[in-house]
Symmetry: none
Subunit: 206 residues, 4 copies
DNA sequence: GATGAATGAGTGTTCATTCAT
DNA sequence: AATGAATGAACACTCATTCAT
């Protein structure tokens, strides 16, 4: 699926608006106005508002696969690999914040039925990657044996997502009174916190 | 704020629908139809659709405070207290699933400005509770000293929320092919997983 | 099915416009404007434009049944009965001109599927009436025996309808340069012409 | 007016669609799709959708003139001439069914003003033909003197047209449960019925 | 106190047509 | 000569809300 310049412009505007105001809370006229195109353009290019959402999801999900195939073969310890993986994870969520917001709400909604096969595939691939590293660590006796690997991504993604969703609260609580401070907090404290949490979980003897 | 029978009926229907289809995705006619009342009633009782949402949030948040004042004084170890706290946390999130769904979206949306002071207060109270227990554990030398307490609720809430939002994915991945299995998984595996994670974080020496 | 004053007003306007400009050629805004009501009224009262058409057809067809039950028992000759029947027929078509125009188009259109059972029933009833009179005439030896009764209404209705549809042409051809003359021509010459034609057909020995 | 291959293709598709779904019920995109041409072609070739209709009407009407000049001079009785004329008439209507459908509705509509001079001329020519035959019959003492000739074509055309427009009804009533039976019924029973009717009218003494 | 009737504003979509190429 | 891209206007319809009763 290839999009021309204008289509990509529409997709970008739509992504932002869908994330900020929800799918139902965004009108095609709003999108058209901001993207500086004719309203009819949206139906013309994507068929319908709903299909625009589908196209958007498909378009963006494809870029969300972690490209860490070489991580497995790198000559670093499994712990360092986990740290690196989490860092990548957080960066990816961070830079796909809008899409995550959209996926969370429009997708958990009972109203629309979006094909999330691609997203599921991405998630399963990423899970496999994580499994490999943990298995490696377990074989080296670094990690505990009884780890529920499937429940580790929820910790990472859930924590980050929850932080973003309650930005106002955390900005207030942690005095992150500028966008820079907020971003830095995520890149440093929050990332370290999650890394530490996952490491603890892997190493900690029950 | 006291509501009569019909108002509570409306609030219940609205909560379910707002959670399932979003605020903008739900029409007052839909609410009225399911609640078996006249459309005009919503404006009449609550002023507007938006004010209905506010009333709903206010109404429900008051009940979301963890009532664990006596936990602090109970004669059990801080570790057991943490375990209990997490269990309560998860139960509360679980039984307020719809409200969480609504809050998450409305809180992060730029469209509506809902007064979330009450929600913030609840969160801060709950955080204080957690802090007390952790401090107790640290004084007893059970927990590590350098714990970022503010980032612990995000792990708990974020993980649970992420699990719910991606129900389809986890049902598939973990073969939770009945509502009972799904609920049981949350009450057992997921709860234990989160408890173990937090405990590891608190105890694990960096 | 009972309609209030405004609904009837809408139906009247819709009938005229649907007849003059076709269903697809008429916009609900046009109807609303002429009926002096809000556009939303049409959806509110009838559900949709299409359902307005259905309501209109149902509403009007019920009044199109020939009420000539007593004709059969009247003490006049079958020939006079036929003449009377045709007169009634023509009057009915005449005063339901718009509905006939609409029905003809919608019936032959492949686009909409309107329930025309009621219309079929009316037509079959009227046919039965005609059959009775003709049988009576045949028993009295006045009419020929081999009459294809089913093909008599097409002559009556078809001729009238064709005349109306080509009004411009006949106005020019027959110099009917006023509405009065046109109506009079139908009530007199055309009616007599059709009566004479049908009588000829019934009496004429092949 | 000469049309190239593609234009004729467009005209053919347009004729079918205009007949089936009406002018307003047919979109240029639909025509373009079926005719396998670009949407812009219609405006390009014909100027506009409306002008396409005009072109279509003009194009087809020219072929609807009855070519029976030699009928007048043939050495057969006026009665046989009438029979032949009616047969030709019916055949022409039959093979121009779509155009008749279009003319009936789009032309009686107050929306569009199509130049029907050509059609009027054709009708007047055909009427003249009929007049000549009837005059011949009257001179031979075969036909009654007081015949309203102008009202004879309406009987023929009206009856056929009415039959076509109510195809569903007659198929049901006369058990014409295949296209073949339907066509045969028109070519035989209906044609004979109309011939008999007109003959009766001409011969029958009032 | 409660509601059926009604409405103006706004929704997503389709329309015939235009225009640069 | 022919067309893909693009558009403003119009489409039917739904929305939350108001108001007379």
């Amino acid at each position: 699926m290839e999009f021309n310049e204008k289509q990509i412009e529409i997709l970008q505007v739509a992504e932002l608006l869908f994330a900020e105001e929800g799918f139902d809370g965004t009108s095609v006229r709003e999108i058209a106005k901001i993207a500086n195109i004719n309203v009819a353009m949206i139906s013309y290019y994507f068929g319908s508002k709903e299909k625009l959402l589908e196209a958007l999801v498909l378009h963006r999900i494809s870029g969300m696969q972690l490209h860490l195939e070489n991580l497995s073969t790198e000559d670093i310890s499994p712990i360092e690999k986990i740290e690196k993986l989490i860092e990548y994870y957080i960066q990816r969520i961070n830079s796909n914040r809008c899409m995550y917001q959209i996926l969370h709400f429009e997708v958990s909604s009972t109203k629309r039925e979006i094909n999330l096969e691609a997203f599921t595939k991405v998630k399963k691939n990423n899970l496999k990657l994580l499994e490999n590293i943990i298995t490696e660590g377990q074989l080296q006796g670094l990690f505990q044996p009884n780890i529920n690997v499937a429940l580790i991504p929820p910790i990472i993604i859930g924590t980050i997502t929850h932080f973003h969703m309650n930005k106002h609260y955390f900005v207030d609580l942690l005095h992150l009174d500028s966008d820079e401070k907020y971003e830095n907090y995520i890149a440093n404290e929050l990332t370290k916190h999650i890394q530490k949490t996952i490491k603890a979980l892997l190493i900690y003897e029950d």
